[in-house]
Every structure is written in structure tokens, then in C-alpha cells.
Assembly symmetry: C2
Homo-oligomer: 255 residues x 2
């Protein structure tokens, strides 16, 4: 969503963006799993002489976010930092977007949870456990692209919730006033849609993960990624976290 | 190629890697062209108060390379920096690879040319000319991933040349001694192979660029990227630059 697109904010445009973001996530996932887990990246503390605390990966990610904040990445309501205490001011003048979301949106950030799931559950599920291959910089670059894509997708829940709220304010209002999380969750859950998403991402994983050769037959065997795992990624983490973001946003929508 | 894979250095393993790298390049290309050219990124000089010279993009790219060099990115013979004067020492201890290439490999670096072609020819060819969308950080992140993938692919010519030299030393030696670029270029040019590569990358662009839906029919119309342009990218820039790298490497192979 570009700056000033408020007029076009609709469930259709949001859905189109979410569908396109699936491709980005799957491309990045395929690129990441070329490498083994490379556990040292996430476990290795830096030498004390470096004056840097945290793991190697945390250091690289923080510094990348800090650099990107200098050109205004986190001025966009679509972007949510993983390390909000480590950002810099923009070094270039940027026009601020007309706000689309309620100001409370800024306080909804589940990146800590995303990062924890990513390192401790997703990587072991998707990557081989071979020895470190020492490709730390390229592995981390893939991680960061993928985590940012997952974060963008999941926090898009704020836009989803905003549009749903605008379209059916009367329906949402009483539950928001009552701070009834369960009722809100129920209101925005559509199992048939979720089933469709799971099927679609599995199909995308199959298509994008195939070994394309000049033979006419598509070699079904040698896929780069297991479509069922991608389906599971959406089922267990992406969609539940998106809905969590939606509920958290709605709870604050009348503040 | 992981560290210490010298024993497995063969034309087959190199070819497999080059084929896999096509996917990476095409994924990254599809991701980049979601955004318009965003010319300000490459043209805008930073405010003099920032004490940084060069364009916004150059600044972001330099800083990214500097950060990645701290975890040893450029210790790998597969990686060639775009800004070699701006690197840092590694902050972690890393085992050095057993050298596979002749030491002169380090002096073959065509990244300046790649960057120039990328900004001045590739982006205008692939991206729309819409107004800046201000997504500078995400656009630049895609650029950097893509440029690094192109650079890796093109500089892989060093490994190709090394294997060809080892396999047919007697054939290459006289032309190297004579410093005969044209004869070397002729020796390592296989038009039939190049035609196949062009066809394959076009097919990959079609497969990876398709809009995948749950309908059984593949929607041919709405591809995200023009397969012919990808074919042209390989024909006009990727393959000629790879061969240029091969020749430059061979010219120094007996130093």
C-alpha cells in the first residue's frame, strides 16, 4: 500500500496484497533453506572485545534495521521493527503518510514472538541440520528478508481489522467495549477462507519450488520445498498470529 | 560451494550451482520489479550535514557490505565486494578456506560494470517509470540481494575457468602465454549451451512469475515478469560478463 492510498483501502486491495505477499514469503523461504540451520549464527555470542551483546544474528539484524530506519523504513505503517529501541532518525526528508490506521496501531507488535518461533520452530522444521557452512552473512541476509516478509504479512492484520471495523462498526463495537477477545476472534475467523489459503500456499510452494528444465515433463520429485510444510507454516503461525494482531488492534480501536 | 569442497570441484557441480543460481536471480528480480524504478534512490545525494558522499543507494549498499564483511562474507571466494575499499575486519574467528582458485582471482572484479548496467540499463528495462513510491529501504534491500546474486553468478566464471583450465591445460596454456583474449574467448564459448540457458531462464521466469490460483488452469496472461526480458538479461549481460571474467581469470592463471 503506497502512501496516501487511504481512499483505496478495501478488503479487495488488502486481499490482493496478502496473496502477493505469499509469493514473497515462499521465494524467501526457498532461498533460506538452501543453507543448513547454521546454529552458530543464533547461538554464538560475540567476543567481549567487540563490545556487542547478543548473538551474531541479533547484531546483524539490529544493524540492518538501524540502517534501513535511516531511509525511513519504519515511517511506513506496513513496517514494524524487531528492535524498536535501536532505530535511527531518517537522514533524508520524507513526506509522512496520511494515517490510515488508528494511532494505537503502533503499539501492536508481535515481532518478538515471530522471531522466537522462527529460530526455535521454523528453522528446525525447514532446514537441514548439517554442520555450519560458515555462510553466515548470506544466511542472515535471507533470514532478515524472510522475517521482514513474515512480519509484514502478519501485521497486515491491522489493515484487515481496520477495514472490517469500518465495514461493520456496529457489529464490532459492543465486543470492543466489552474487551471480549474471544468474540472478536470468532467474528473475524472464516475457516473456509483459511482452508483455501492453506491449499493455495501449498500449491505455490510446489510451483515455485520445482526444478524447471527444458524437458516438457515437470519433474515432480525434486521439489526444493515441502508444500505441506508451507501449508503448516500458515496454519500454525502465520494465520493465528495475523488474527492475534487483528484482535489486539481492535481492542484498542476505540481508545 | 562450501569451504573445502575442492575435491568436488567439477564442471558438473559448477553447472548445478549455476542452474540453481538462476532461480535465485529470477526470484529476486520478480521481487524487485514489484516496485517502480524509484530514481531518487540512485540520484539523490545525501544532505551535506550527513557527512556521507554518494547517492542514497550507494550509502545503503556500502554500509550493508561493510556489515556483512564483519561476519566474513568476503572471505569466501564466491563473494566479490562492490565497494572493496569500505570493508571491515571480521569480528568472529573464521576458518579460512583451502584456496581453490589461483590467487590472481582476487584481482578480477567486474562489479563496477555490473552496478552501472544494473542502474542504467536493467532497471529501466524491467521496472515501471511511475513516481517514487518512497519505499526506499525495501527497494534497496531487493536491489542489494539481486546485485549480489548477479555478481555471484558472473564471478562464478572464475570457477568455470579454473575447471576448464585443469581439464584441458594443454589447450589453454599457449593462448594464456600469448595473452590472446580472442582465442581464449572462442575456446570457452559454446553457442548451443548459451541458447539452452536463454531458453531455460525464460521458462523459469514464466513458471515462477505466474499467478498461482486454486483454479486448475494456469493463467498465462498475468505473469509478473516478461520471460523474454530475462532471456535478454542473460544474453546481453550475464553470459558475456561471465565469459569476460573467465578470460580475465585465465589471462592471469599462469602468473
Amino acid at each position: 500500500m503506497a502512501c496516501g492510498d487511504d481512499g483505496k483501502l478495501s478488503l479487495d486491495s488488502i486481499r490482493d496484497s496478502l496473496i502477493r505477499q505469499e509469493d514473497t514469503i515462499i521465494f524467501n523461504l526457498i532461498e533460506r533453506i538452501k543453507f543448513p540451520i547454521n546454529p552458530s549464527l543464533y547461538k554464538q555470542q560475540l567476543p567481549s572485545s567487540s563490545n556487542i551483546s547478543g548473538s551474531l544474528f541479533q547484531y546483524l539484524f539490529q544493524e540492518t534495521e538501524s540502517l534501513q530506519s535511516k531511509v525511513g523504513r519504519y515511517l511506513s505503517p506496513e513496517e514494524n521493527p524487531f528492535f524498536p529501541d535501536n532505530l535511527s532518525d531518517s537522514i533524508i526528508p520524507l513526506t509522512k503518510c496520511t494515517p490510515v490506521l488508528h494511532p494505537a496501531a503502533a503499539s501492536v507488535n508481535v515481532n518478538e514472538k515471530i522471531l522466537d518461533i522462527y529460530i526455535n520452530q521454523m528453522l528446525p522444521l525447514f532446514c537441514t541440520e548439517a554442520d555450519d557452512d560458515a555462510n553466515f552473512a548470506t544466511t542472515a541476509a535471507c533470514d532478515i528478508q524472510l522475517l521482514q516478509a513474515l512480519s509484514r504479512r502478519i501485521h497486515y492484520g491491522k489493515f484487515v481489522a481496520e477495514v472490517k471495523f469500518r465495514d461493520s462498526t456496529d457489529e464490532y463495537k459492543p465486543f470492543i467495549l466489552a474487551q471480549d477477545k474471544d468474540a472478536l476472534m470468532k467474528l473475524l475467523t472464516f475457516e473456509a477462507v483459511e482452508e483455501m489459503v492453506k491449499k493455495r500456499v501449498a500449491k505455490k510452494a510446489k510451483v515455485f519450488g520445482q526444478e524447471v528444465t527444458l524437458n516438457d515433463s515437470i519433474e515432480e520429485v525434486k521439489g526444493k520445498i515441502d508444500p505441506l510444510l508451507v501449508s503448516r507454516l500458515y496454519d500454525e503461525w502465520v494465520m493465528p498470529l495475523t488474527k492475534f494482531v487483528e484482535v489486539e488492534y481492535l481492542l484498542r480501536r476505540l481508545d
